[in-house]
Structure formats: C-alpha cells, structure tokens
C-alpha cells in the first residue's frame, strides 16, 4: 500500500488500546475466558504472522473513518486538490474553519438539535411501551400470550418501506405530517418488535422468586414493575436504549418520508441533501458527517458493554 510510511495509524491503534485500558475491561473483552488452552493454540500458529494479519485487518477497517476525520480538518481547497493523506505530512495546516462554516452557514446546528429532538422521545417512548408489554409477556398468564408475542416478533421482518404509504395517509388525515409527533410515533412503532423481543428475553431471565413473593405479599403489578423490575433491569434497558437511540439517530428513510427536508429535518436528511446538491463540496460535507457521527460514537464507547450485551441477548440466547 502507498501508506507504509504513515506514522499516524499505529499511534491510533495504541490510542485505542489506551481507551480500552482506561475504561477497564470492555465488554468485548469481558466475553473472553481467562487464559486458557487457547493461549497454547495461539503459540502453535505462527504468532508474528497472526498478529500482523490482525493489525492489518484493524487498520484496513479504520482507514476510511480516519480519512474522513483528517479531511474534516483540512481546508476545502486542499481537500479538493490532494488526497487527505497528504495532510499528514508536515507542514501541517489543519483548520477548524469547516466546523464553523457548517454549524453557522449550512443550518447544521439546527439539524443537530432536530436530531436530538427526534431521537430522545423516539428512544424513551418505545422503550417504555415495550417494557410494559415485556413485563406482561414474561410474568403474567393470559390466553394467547405466546401467540401474541410470536406475532409481534414476526413483525420484525416487515420492510418499513411497506408501511410508508398507509401511515403517511393516516398522518396526513390527522394533519400531523411533517411534525415531530409523527416521527416519534413512527419510531416508537418501528422499534417495538425488537424492543419487546429483547426486553422479554431479559425480563424472563430475572429470578422469578423475587417477583412472585412480592406479588404474594400483595404488591400490585405497578409496584412490582417500578420497585423491583425496573431497578433490576437497568442494564438491559440501557442496552436497548443504545440500540434504539443509534437507530433513530442514524435513520434516513423514516425522517425523509415523515419530516422531509424542511426546518425540522434531522442531520441525516440534511447531510444527504448536501451530498446530492453539492456533490463535490467536500469540506462542508466532511465536518457535517463527522459531527453527525460524534454522538453515536460517544454513546457507543461509553456504554459499549451494554451494547454488546444487548446484541448477544438478542441473537445468541434468544
């Protein structure tokens, strides 16, 4: 590759190691077994070759993101005339101008705010509704319970595209097309099948004696739910919150349909418009894209262990 002399990428890898070290064991590491016969297995293979291969793959995966990161700190003229990797060679001429331009001129500041206004209720609402349902599915007995649950889970596979026309006409009939309320409701519904599925498997795994003895002592369902279940379920709720937040924050299609490109548009829509309309106006695009990525990356890194737990619960155990 043409970048063998690039001094920054190894530094980046060690920075990532530091991050992992500072935060204590990450969830990715927690899943490991302690030093085991696998260690010996590693020695059987050519250790150096193996390490080089893993480093190469990690670099390969990081380079595109890193390129955008570097480009976002270069002037528009530089980005358009030479490759971003040229910016790594002295003399450096990094600038914050792109970020200033984007936040003021392109209305991205408002779009960032819109994304938050959409994503926060768009996360809390479905998690709450799903938690009620999952509690009933896990801890109450009623006719058709398992069939209803299966029906909701089956809806996981309905293509969202299919729902756009009918829902749009309902929203238009109610006169809420283009409003925040419309997109909150839509995200709540679209997130529900996965949320119910995930939370039911979490709740079902909690010790049943606790819940049953509280019920026998005369506690109402509302009390059991708020005083016993919710505190116990904080980790599982957190992992669902991350999923749902990332999904809503990163969503383009739902926002495009129900909100459109107006002054309530979230970042994804605004950036997609920048891509289409400016085409090669890269410097604005780079900073804008990086701002939109910053929040999910922060959320992801600070709550990584919950995120991974969520994936595992949803996919491995069921």
């Amino acid at each position: 590759m043409s970048m063998t002399n690039n001094p920054v990428d190894p530094a980046r890898v060690s920075a990532e190691k530091e991050i992992a070290g500072v935060r204590g064991p990450t969830a990715l590491e927690l899943a490991e077994t302690p030093v085991s016969p696998r260690e010996r297995l590693g020695q059987r293979l050519n250790g150096g070759l193996l390490m080089a291969l893993v480093v190469l793959i990690s670099l390969l995966w990081s380079v595109p993101t890193f390129g955008l990161f570097v480009a976002s700190f270069r002037s528009g003229a530089a980005t358009q005339s030479t490759g971003w990797w040229n910016g790594l060679v002295p003399p450096w001429s990094f600038t914050l101008q792109n970020y200033q331009d984007v936040l003021s001129a392109q209305g991205l500041g408002q779009a960032f705010l819109n994304s938050l206004i959409i994503a926060i209720p768009g996360t809390i609402l479905p998690v709450l509704v799903a938690a009620f349902a999952a509690y009933a599915f896990a801890w109450m007995r009623f006719p058709l319970r398992d069939w209803l649950f299966l029906a909701i889970v089956a809806l996981l596979v309905v293509p969202i595209q299919m729902t756009l026309i009918p829902i749009l006409s309902i929203f238009t009939g109610l006169g809420i097309t283009g409003s925040y309320l419309a997109i909150w409701l839509a995200h709540t519904a679209y997130g529900l099948p996965f949320a119910v599925y995930l939370l039911r498997s979490f709740f079902g795994a909690l010790p049943s004696d606790l819940m049953e003895s509280a019920r026998i002592d005369g506690a109402s369902h509302v009390r059991v739910f708020t005083n016993i279940l919710l505190p116990l379920a904080v980790p599982s709720l957190a992992s669902l919150v991350i999923f749902q937040f990332m999904w809503v924050w990163n969503d383009l299609l739902v926002a495009l349909i129900y909100i459109g490109g107006g002054d309530r548009a979230p970042m994804t829509v605004t950036i997609a418009n920048l891509v289409n309309s400016f085409g090669s106006n890269y410097q604005v695009l780079t900073a804008a894209a990086f701002i939109s990525m910053a929040l999910p990356l922060i959320v992801f890194f600070s709550l990584q262990r919950y995120f991974v737990r969520g994936i595992l619960a949803g996919s491995v155990k069921g």
Partner: protein
C-alpha cells in the same frame, strides 16, 4: 394483622399461594400492559401490510382494480428484473462476505493479546449512519481524470502502482461490488461480535482432544468449531439476509440507484415519490415481504425450539 402472620394457617397461605381460577380481573389486567404495544403494532405494521397488499392489486392512482398486472409488469420489465437481480446479488454476496469475514476475524482475534482493541476497530462502523458511511467512502472511491491528482484512496493506490483510475461508483461492472463492500465494512463487526461469543462457548477440551489425535487446525475449524456454532451462524446469516432485502440507505446516498445499482427499496422510493405510482411501488413492497416470509417462518421455528429448551 399480627395474628395473621403468626398463626400456622396464615404461614401456610403465605408460602403456598392459592390457585385461584382466572377471574375477569386477571383477564383484563394483562391487556392494559400489552395494550399500547399492540395498538402501535396494529396501526403501524399490521394495517399497512394489509393495505399495501390491497394497493398492489390496483392501478397507479388506486382508482381501478387491476389484479396481478403490477406484478406482471415488474416481472416482464427488463429494468425491473435488473433491480431484482441487483437485490439478489446484494443478499448473496453481502451475507456470504459479512458472515465469512466475521467468523474469520473472530477466530483470528481470539488468538491475539489485543483482542479488545482489534474488535473495537472493526465494530466502530456499526455506530456510523449509512449517510456518514456514504461520505466516508466517497473519499475511498472518488474518481479524478487520469493525470490529475487522485483524492480517492483507492485510485491513488491504483495509479501509484501504475494502473488507470477507475470510476468505482459509475462503472457498472464494479459499482455494485464497491457498494456491497461498504455494507461489509459496516456489518462485519456485528457478525464478528456474535460469532466470537459463540466461539468462546466451544469447550476447549474437545479441541484439545482432537489435537492430541493429530487433527490439523483447519480440520478442527471445519469439523468441530463450525458444526458446533452452526446455530449461531444461522442466526447471524438470517439477520443479514433480512437487512439486505431491505437495503436502502447506502445506495440512496452513494449513487441514488443510478448507473445500474438500483435495488428494490430504492426503486420503490423513486416510484412512489417521483412517479407517484402507488400500484407498482406497493407491488415492489409486497415482493419484499413475500421474499421474507420463509425467513420469518424459520425464525419462529427457532424461537419455539429455544422456548422448549428453556
């Protein structure tokens, strides 16, 4: 109050709950809890599915019943068949690449000391939106005329090695593969994390025993590891297939479905919002749904199996 908890009968009642018959209250209360979710799902998912089925049997402005004519048009139009073919290419290549790479990387990182850092590097793209990924990959695929300095990474490497720059996203021989590569970059981390967890569950005694008997590492991988984690591989693969059937954002952002990269979801979007053709667009959505039904049945079977094992 006090006597209740002291008397022997009281204690007995507390430790063994009486089996009441289901009364009206027990029937209603659960519905209060699942009610909101059920209403949301009925309005936003069940009703639209039924409505789309109905619209797909009518003409463009839904004024006339046309039976299966929309489907006939889709399956006889060569451009539409190309769209369906592209979707198939995405499903086959995308699933195979993410699952195979995810498994390979999971096995590799399992044997190095900086496993956490390597996994994080590969998992990060999961947190990035398709829109953000589209911008990131413009810097990889950008094309400038031969002789100009190339600001796209891939073309810079290519010209440095003496080749001609390629229009990765426009050249219809390669652009679908270039787009699928972006998907693979985003979703391999997801497959890797899940497969890695399954991998840790394979008892090392079995592998040790095989090794003592002289099995090679490759044999151990294909004869022991893969069969033992095959349920997880199936889960990951079905997740990818469902994702890829509905693939929209990468293509919408990077090519808009032009240059022969159109897929069903993008074509659906264009038919609906550019041409206002409710008939054809609904028929496209129905085709997606029908393609997903076998996976849905597979998933339900798997779920019931798991519940039975509980």
């Amino acid at each position: 109050m006090a006597t209740k908890s002291i008397t022997a009968t009281g204690a007995a009642v507390r430790s063994v709950p009486p089996r009441k018959p289901l009364n009206l209250r027990d029937l209603i209360v659960p519905w209060l809890w699942i009610g909101p979710a059920v209403i949301f799902v009925l309005v936003f998912l069940v009703y639209p599915v039924l409505n789309t089925l109905w619209l797909s049997l009518q003409n463009a402005d839904s004024s006339q019943f046309v039976g299966l004519r929309n489907f006939a048009r889709i399956f006889t139009d060569s451009a539409m068949l190309g769209v369906l073919g592209n979707n198939l290419l995405w499903i086959v290549l995308g699933t195979a690449a993410t699952v195979a790479l995810g498994l390979l990387i999971a096995v590799l990182v399992d044997r190095v000391r900086f496993e956490g850092a390597a996994k994080a590097a590969i998992f990060i793209p999961m947190a990035i939106s398709f829109v953000g990924a589209g911008v990131i990959w413009k810097f990889v695929y950008n094309y400038d005329a031969p002789g100009q300095p190339q600001i796209g990474l891939l073309n810079a490497i290519l010209t440095r090695l003496g080749g001609q720059p390629q229009a990765w996203l426009i050249n219809s021989g390669i652009n679908n593969f270039a787009l699928i590569a972006v998907y693979v970059w985003m979703w391999t981390g997801f497959c890797m994390v899940i497969l890695s967890a399954a991998l840790k569950g394979v008892p090392s005694e079995i592998m040790e025993a095989a090794r003592v008997d002289g099995a090679s590492e490759i044999n151990i991988f294909f004869r022991i590891i893969v069969p033992m984690i095959s349920p997880t591989i199936a889960v990951v693969a079905t997740t990818m297939v469902i994702n890829l059937l509905k693939i929209f954002d990468i293509i919408y952002v990077m090519t808009g479905g032009n240059f022969g990269t159109d897929v069903v979801a993008v074509e659906y979007y264009n038919r609906l919002f550019t041409f206002n053709d409710f008939g054809i667009s609904s028929a496209l959505a129905v085709i997606l749904l029908i393609a997903i039904v076998p996976i849905m049945i597979f998933n339900i079977r798997r779920f019931r199996q798991q519940e039975a094992e509980r």
